[in-house]
């Protein structure tokens, strides 16, 4: 996918507009934040009006929503899921735990800073963020997509070795599967 500013401007605009209005979220509930997703989706807040919709498998999804703390064990699965998603893809860090560890700042088995392991496009803070905040996060993501700045996947591809090194610090014995775009 081209994020080149100079070429295909109109084409890119249309493409980004479509992507912006059709955000399929992979339902991968990692922490307590997963409970905030149902109210966001259902009748009170209705994220579907913004084009946000659930997707069942990583192959179909656009956005990986990390809802809360990630244990070192879950991190491996999340990385796997992220790598199975098809380009273009975005990551939303959800809640304080993904930003700086939150209340698990001293836990021996949760990671503290998500963007060292996966490229995060948007963080939503709060413990937990309310559905309004989640919607604000999606709006921010839409804005970034429209501007062509939500290029986390590009970053990941370019700095794959750096990310791999960080991931290996957590789980040195894990044989990482091949990366598939």
């Amino acid at each position: 996918m081209s994020y080149d500013k100079d070429s295909h401007k109109i084409f890119d605009f249309i493409q980004n507009w479509a992507r912006k209005h059709s955000i399929w979220v992979l339902a991968y509930g990692t922490g307590c934040g997963a409970i905030e997703i149902p109210p966001t989706m259902t009748s009170r807040y209705d994220a579907e009006r913004l084009g946000v919709r659930g997707a069942a498998t990583p192959r179909q999804a656009d956005v990986l929503l990390i809802t809360g703390y990630l244990t070192t064990k879950t991190l491996k699965r999340v990385i796997r899921v992220y790598e199975q998603m098809q380009d273009p893809k975005y990551v939303i860090g959800f809640g304080s735990c993904t930003i700086n560890g939150g209340m698990y700042y001293d836990s021996y088995n949760t990671i503290k800073v998500l963007d060292k392991y996966l490229p995060v496009d948007v963080y939503i803070n709060g413990c937990m963020p309310r559905p309004e905040a989640v919607l604000a996060g999606f709006a921010k993501l839409q804005q970034l997509i429209a501007e062509g700045k939500a290029n986390g996947a590009q970053k990941y591809k370019e700095n794959l070795e750096w990310y791999r090194e960080n991931q290996k610090r957590i789980s040195p014995h894990w044989v990482m599967p091949e990366y598939n775009w």
Binding site: R77, I79, P177, E178, N180
Partner: protein, 617 residues
């Protein structure tokens, strides 16, 4: 010398020579075997036309061998499939014990089938029928453990059929004084009413056993799945058609002149319908590919029996067309199972998965066979089914349409199971070493599968011989173009092709394939079947993720009431009853002189008491 007798002599000599040469090392026996199958077949195609005959007298009976147009059609099935199966067998049966016996029986069964088709007198018909039964029985018990039980079942049913047929033959002889089939058909209309009923029923029992009609089908699954696959393709494809051949003759030659033939037809057609549904449902429940295909054969023969039973010209056309198609695709599928069994050592779906990339040609052949079996256009199975539906609607058998449609829709389930179980699903490490089957096994499969495609596109190729056969049976009312009876061919004009559909399908398919491939050909790459979305978990090498156990459990649960009782159950009950009867008889005949004396006294007393009432003395 007459070509016909020469063909049989070569068959017989070839069989014996191959048997004798079976202990000699080298390729001699294979060459002899192939030669003794192919040479007579070539002679048959070059030297024999429909209508050729050969007469001789032996032991007081007049023998007449003649190939009729109908027989010629079936001979096409037998010889075509026979040659393919022979080529396949040479490669498939390598390094098995008692090879000489296999080759001997193989040649004999082809010979006997041709003999049946040649015979115009009941004596040689019966003799060849028995040779066929014996050679196929020896094939059933040829290999594997636990075959005696299967073999005895097959043998008992064959014997019942043969005795029924023999009885009918004797009756015919006593009534007409002749053994000629033509004479029998001509004089049938003049028989007494009870003979008019009994003779066809006895014949139909004999033929129904071979064509696995519903109450007589119980031998079929075991026998089909236990004989070597190289022979089963012939067994299911051609040998069962001999039953159909006989049925066609009886239904068209006798029942047509029978005053109450209407009811006869309905009974036969419904038996066929029940056969189709039962076979399909049991096929869905099988986990073994051979058993699945065996039950599927039963079901497919059910369709054919429906067509034969209805007996309108279009239904007969459909039935004969389906008989040809069944020979093609069931031959292909049994050969594919044989290839898989040879390469992996098992034919069980629960053990083998993911062979598509290892055996692509076998997959292609099976795919075409399955599409033809399911009756999906553009392959040939559809043409037959369409004609069958049309004939059923045209002759007001509405419920039978539903029954047949149910069976053919439910057939998708086992079709998918067959393809999924062997070829799709997870590619396991256990089967990584599997290679494509030997060339000699693949070529016959591909040729037969190609045949289904050819006949689906140009059904006219086989409809000409069929219509010739139908004319012989007296369906000469509509001269010339038989395909005009069917909507299918009408709508596309005089050419007997489905070209427009075919072109449309190919065009659209090609377009979207190109769309999917060209657009991202360069940056698309293959990933293994372990790379699937399993909630981020990476499956280990040894973890088997394939879903194949209880594959259609929900469906089977839904149709459970239909499948509660197997017919086997009733036969077993019958057998037990007979045993008990014999047991009781033995108790009466104690072997003790005093008891017999007692019986005699009791008899005399009863006789004296009842003599006035009974005899008026």
């Amino acid at each position: 010398m007459n070509t016909i007798i020469l063909i049989f002599i070569i068959f017989l000599a070839g069989a014996i020579l191959t048997f004798l040469a079976s202990n000699i090392k080298g390729l001699l026996k294979e060459v002899l075997f192939l030669a003794s199958v192919i040479v007579p077949v070539v002679m048959f195609f070059t030297g024999v036309k429909a209508g050729d005959s050969f007469n001789f007298h032996l032991a007081g009976f007049a023998f007449q061998w003649e190939i009729t147009p109908l027989g010629y059609l079936f001979a096409l099935i037998v010889t075509g499939l026979g040659v393919m199966a022979a080529i396949y067998a040479v490669s498939a049966m390598q390094k098995t014990k008692n090879l000489g016996l296999f080759y001997f029986n193989f040649i004999l069964s082809i010979m006997s089938m041709l003999g049946i088709l040649f015979s115009r007198d009941l004596v040689s018909f019966f003799i060849f029928w028995e040779i066929m039964t014996w050679s196929s029985y020896l094939m059933v018990v040829y290999q594997g453990k636990d075959v005696q039980k299967v073999g005895i079942k097959y043998f008992i049913f064959s014997a019942i059929g043969a005795y029924a047929m023999l009885m009918a033959i004797v009756m015919v002889y006593s009534l007409t004084g002749s053994m000629m089939i033509d004479k029998m058909i001509q004089s049938y209309a003049g028989f007494a009413f009870n003979m008019q009923i009994i003779i066809p029923i006895l014949f139909l029992i004999g033929f129904g056993v071979k064509s696995a009609m519903m109450p007589l089908h119980v031998w079929a699954p075991g026998a089909y799945s236990h004989s070597p696959m190289a022979f089963t393709s012939l067994f299911s494809g051609a040998l069962s058609k001999m039953g159909i051949y006989g049925m066609v003759i009886v239904m068209a030659g006798m029942i047509a002149y029978f005053p109450e033939g209407h009811w006869f037809r309905i009974v036969i057609a419904w038996l066929g319908g029940i056969t189709a549904v039962g076979g399909t449902l049991w096929a869905i429940a099988q986990d073994d590919a051979k058993k699945l295909l065996a039950y599927s054969s039963v079901a497919q023969l059910g369709y054919i029996i429906v067509g034969v039973g209805i007996g309108t010209p279009l239904a007969m056309l459909a039935a004969l067309f389906m008989a040809v198609m069944h020979a093609l695709f069931k031959g292909t599928l049994f050969m594919a199972v044989g290839a898989i069994e040879k390469q992996t050592g098992t034919s069980n779906f629960t053990e083998v998965t993911g062979l598509i990339r290892k055996m692509p040609l076998t997959f292609l052949a099976s795919l075409m066979g399955i599409i033809a079996l399911a009756g999906i256009p553009p392959l040939g199975g559809f043409v037959g089914k369409w004609m069958l539906y049309e004939s059923l609607i045209g002759s007001d058998h509405y419920l039978l349409v539903i029954v047949i449609f149910f069976s053919s829709t439910a057939a998708f389930l086992y079709c998918y199971k067959f393809l999924f179980g062997f070829f799709l699903g997870q590619e396991e490490k256990e089967w990584e070493h599997v290679k494509e089957a030997p060339v000699l096994m693949v070529i016959p499969m591909i040729i037969l599968a190609g045949g289904t495609f050819l006949l689906g596109t140009f059904p006219g190729l086989v409809i000409k011989p069929i219509s010739a056969g139908l004319e012989q049976l007296g369906y000469a009312a509509t001269q010339g173009k038989y395909w005009e009876m069917s909507m299918l061919f009408n709508e596309w004009g005089d050419q007997v092709v489905l070209e427009p559909i075919l072109y449309a399908i190919i065009a659209v398919f090609a377009f979207f394939l190109v769309f999917l491939l060209i657009k991202n050909h360069k940056n698309t790459r293959y990933v293994s079947t372990k790379d699937i979305s399993t909630s981020g978990e990476v499956p280990k090498e040894h973890e088997n993720l394939t879903f194949i156990q209880n594959f259609f459990q929900p469906f089977l649960r839904a149709v459970e009431p239909l499948m509660k009782r197997q017919i086997d159950f009733y036969y077993n009950g019958f057998g037990k009853g007979i045993e008990a009867l014999f047991d009781f008889t033995r108790r009466i005949y104690t072997g003790n002189g005093q008891t017999y004396a007692l019986y005699a006294i009791i008899f005399v007393v009863i006789f004296l008491l009842l003599k006035t009432t009974l005899f008026g003395i």
